[in-house]
Point group: C2
Chain length 213, copies 2
């Protein structure tokens, strides 16, 4: 089986899941923490080299404050859970705002835990325009783009899996996603099961790789 080297995760549907379970929207996020750990362990087992989780964006912080506090807390807790595993964690996002959690500042340089190994990236207070804006400060005449953006330490993504049924990138790493295969799962992220992951891997196995050629 052809295993993607780098998997991008868009864990959408937390609020819709909360409403469908008679909870207020802000209550959905904490139910997305364990699925993240489960998915991490499956990736580790299947020898995926790198995972990137879409945490939250600059635009997301315009939501009602109880939601904002809830998703920020869920992101912090998700990162902290992984510090107990064998992995190398990197947080990418605009740190120049009170919406960037101070608890995660340390992780803006990649940190190794346990035996290291799989790279895990979290986008935290990320904005695609913020990411690309660094290009304006580059004088390079080289044709490449990735080395000159804020998320330069995140590699090209092979497979993006999105939960919650929406078929869009919603600003997720536009440069690393240009050639990514995009798989959408209709169920909400808190309802994650390992079957979701394996269905996506099987689908990916049937795709060809052209990289624009």
């Amino acid at each position: 089986m052809r295993i993607p080297e780098h998997v991008g995760i868009i864990p959408d549907g937390n609020r819709r899941w909360a409403l469908s379970n008679n909870l207020t929207k802000d209550k959905g996020y904490e139910y997305g923490i364990n699925p993240g750990l489960e998915l991490f362990k499956l990736c580790q087992k299947e020898n995926v080299k790198e995972i990137t989780f879409y945490g939250f964006t600059v635009d997301n912080t315009k939501r009602p404050s109880e939601q904002k506090f809830a998703f920020i807390k869920a992101c912090i807790d998700s990162v902290m859970l992984l510090t107990k595993e064998d992995c190398e964690i990197l947080v990418i996002g605009n740190t120049e705002s009170k919406n960037f959690p101070q608890e995660l500042l340390l992780f803006t340089t990649r940190q190794k835990f346990g035996a290291g190994g799989i790279k895990v990236n979290f986008l935290i207070h990320y904005g695609w325009e913020w990411d690309l804006n660094l290009l304006k400060k580059s004088n390079s005449s080289k044709k490449h783009i990735l080395p000159y953006i804020h998320s330069e330490d995140i590699s090209r993504i092979d497979l993006i899996i999105r939960w919650g049924g929406r078929r869009r990138l919603s600003g997720f790493l536009p440069v690393q996603s240009v050639y990514s295969d995009f798989y959408v799962i209709d169920s909400y992220w808190p309802d994650f099961t390992s079957k979701d992951f394996y269905t996506a891997l099987e689908w990916y196995n049937d795709q060809d790789v052209t990289l624009g050629g």
Copy 2:
């Protein structure tokens, strides 16, 4: 019905269509010209304001030369066909190469035909890295990205429709696609029918618009 203002078209599957019809790969492209005209007329009828066709990329020109000549000719013919309609045509791509067809140089400034109206953009010898590289020459401190890339005259895309079954953007306008809804049709582009378009529109009608919020 909620109609997308701007529809992006990835007309993939010409070569696979040719093989499945006992033709050589290069023969597929000419069968993609009429579908483009049909789709244009449907967009016009449904009051879509802008369409962008993915013509060919810098990377595509590395293909065998008989294929290269065939898709370049099909692109030129597609643009020329539309000059007989009411529309405003713009061609975006890297003109500094012999692979950019001289016949289309005129269209690198938007040209109005007939009564004008619907904008039709063609990506011709386009490269996503080429597009974004212009940011390196910008001194702007403004947070926006679109006004500083080569494809600045192409607006944000609401709905991308891809034929040929692949679920990836393949370098199609990464900046304008960040929030686009992405609909994939399994049949090959030369087998286009109006039902494809209306199925995509009906699906789009059921999506919500969040623009990252």
